[in-house]
């Protein structure tokens, strides 16, 4: 399966899961909304150029926005995540390897700890920015902090569960093949 087809299927799956399962479950607490759809952006291949990352992020957010009737909210957060992603990857991967052995970020490609840091930073950015935009309309500062922390925690939990439960077939790329 080519990268393109694989990512299109992933896109549809993530959006549908977010809209029809995570947004619809009777919510655990008023501070907690589980989010997972932006994992799509975190899983995009290394080879995607930075401009395309931004455009894909924008479209991903906007599609979700039209389902939840908040045009621009998730789009803004996703564009931020897509913009910061290459910097975080650069910092967390060793400098001497010029090429990646795997196609996309995963615990296998980056080791567990750097991958966890990568997911954590981007999750915190996504939720921080999104809750901030919502908070400009309503709410107080304590609400804002608690909401960011709790949604980040539950999203991290979801993402690592996904990593452990869903095996991604990642071929090891060698020069000989």
């Amino acid at each position: 399966m080519s990268d393109l087809v694989r990512n299109i299927i992933r896109f549809a799956l993530f959006i549908l899961i977010q809209v029809y399962i995570l947004n619809k479950i009777p919510h655990l607490h008023r501070y907690i909304t589980p989010y997972i759809y932006y994992l799509f952006i975190l899983w995009l291949p290394f080879s995607v150029s930075r401009q395309w990352l931004l455009v894909i992020g924008f479209i991903t957010g906007l599609v979700l926005d039209y389902f939840t009737m908040t045009p621009g909210l998730h789009a803004a957060a996703c564009v931020l995540v897509a913009y910061v992603r290459p910097f975080v990857i650069n910092i967390l991967t060793p400098k001497d390897t010029s090429e990646f052995n795997y196609r996309e970020p995963s615990p296998k490609a980056m080791q567990w700890t750097p991958y966890a840091v990568y997911v954590f930073i981007l999750t915190l950015l996504h939720h921080g920015y999104m809750v901030f935009l919502q908070w400009l309309d309503v709410g107080n500062f304590l609400d804002f902090i608690i909401k960011v922390i709790s949604t980040t925690a539950i999203s991290m939990l979801l993402i690592f569960t996904t990593e452990l439960l869903v095996p991604r077939k990642l071929k090891f790329r060698t020069n000989t093949a």
């Binding site: 919510h27 008023r30 909304t33 039209y66 045009p71 789009a75 803004a76 564009v79 309309d137």
Partner: protein, 292 residues
């Protein structure tokens, strides 16, 4: 000039980022102000299609509750039928006409049409409900929406040809005029964005004797909502010392967790009322323009 181009090329990614951020924020703020999202017509048709497919499956899970509600409403309507009422007359029983209203000079002010909920959330700060009726079926903005058991759900804020978006009572910008059933004081029902089971009723003066469990109905002064539909019951009362008004916590009558069938209610005199309201404002508050 060359340096300018070099500069733009060097920071091209950053400019793309800024541009997309600005577009996203522009979408967000223009929507929050006017509830008119960019490209919403097209997007609404698409999400509506997908939501209807999903809804076909989801409906089965709430059928039992829905049946109960419909049955209750049927029962109350059955009790209202004219054949239940007879004149106590020894000579003959007068059976009322099936349309007894016109002869007494009454006229129709509200009409309702049924609709099905295709998408609904309760866990955001701004919850919207999508219905499978749109402008092609005669739905327009500001129509009232009530649940199948007669409790208030929200009002229509946006329509596309075949779908419409309803601002739920569970929306931080929603305000609905409501009154206490017992004493008739009028206040506004809002939502504080916290618990989806409870709304907030404001502007009830502290002189009113309120008991927990009192019923809150839609008021007689609302343009959108017909009077007498249930909003909820008082669950907790608090006095705001600054204003001398109560802040009442109201338990919603509608169950937003499993909404399925709703009625869209249209006020046939809505346009006239709003127009009169606006013209009065213009006349009184800005008299120079009209007197010439």
């Amino acid at each position: 000039m060359r340096n300018v181009f070099l500069f733009i090329r060097r920071y091209f990614t950053f400019f793309t980022f800024l541009l997309l951020q600005i577009v996203a924020l522009w979408f967000l703020y223009s929507y929050n102000k006017f509830h008119r999202a960019k490209f919403l017509g097209v997007a609404n048709e698409m999400t509506g299609r997908i939501n209807s497919q999903y809804n076909k499956v989801e409906d089965y899970f709430t059928l039992k509750e829905e049946n109960k509600r419909v049955h209750r409403l049927n029962d109350s309507l059955l009790n209202l039928q004219s054949r239940n009422f007879m004149h106590r007359d020894t000579i003959m029983g007068i059976i009322q006409d099936s349309i007894p209203y016109d002869t007494l000079g009454n006229y129709r002010r509200y009409t309702s049409r049924p609709a099905t909920v295709v998408y609904n959330t309760i866990n955001a700060q701004k919850n919207y409900i999508q219905l499978n009726r749109g402008s092609a079926q005669g739905v327009s903005d500001n129509m009232a929406v009530i649940s199948s058991d007669g409790s208030v759900v929200g009002k229509v804020v946006n329509v596309s040809p075949n779908f419409s978006q309803v601002m739920s009572l569970l929306h931080v910008q929603s305000t609905v005029s409501a009154s206490l059933k017992k004493t008739g004081e009028i206040g506004t029902v809002e939502w504080d964005g916290k618990d989806p089971q409870f709304l907030v009723l404001k502007r009830i003066p502290k002189t009113v004797d309120i008991k927990l469990g009192d019923t809150v109905l839609t008021s007689k002064v609302s343009f959108n909502f017909p009077p007498g539909y249930i909003v909820g019951t008082v669950a907790d009362k608090k006095l705001d010392n600054a204003t001398g008004m109560y802040i009442l916590k109201v338990k919603t009558a509608a169950n937003f967790y499993n909404l399925q069938q709703v009625h869209i209610i249209m006020n046939l005199e809505y346009d006239e009322q709003v127009k009169l309201n606006q013209e009065t404002k213009k006349k009184i508050e800005d008299p120079k323009k009209t007197v010439k």
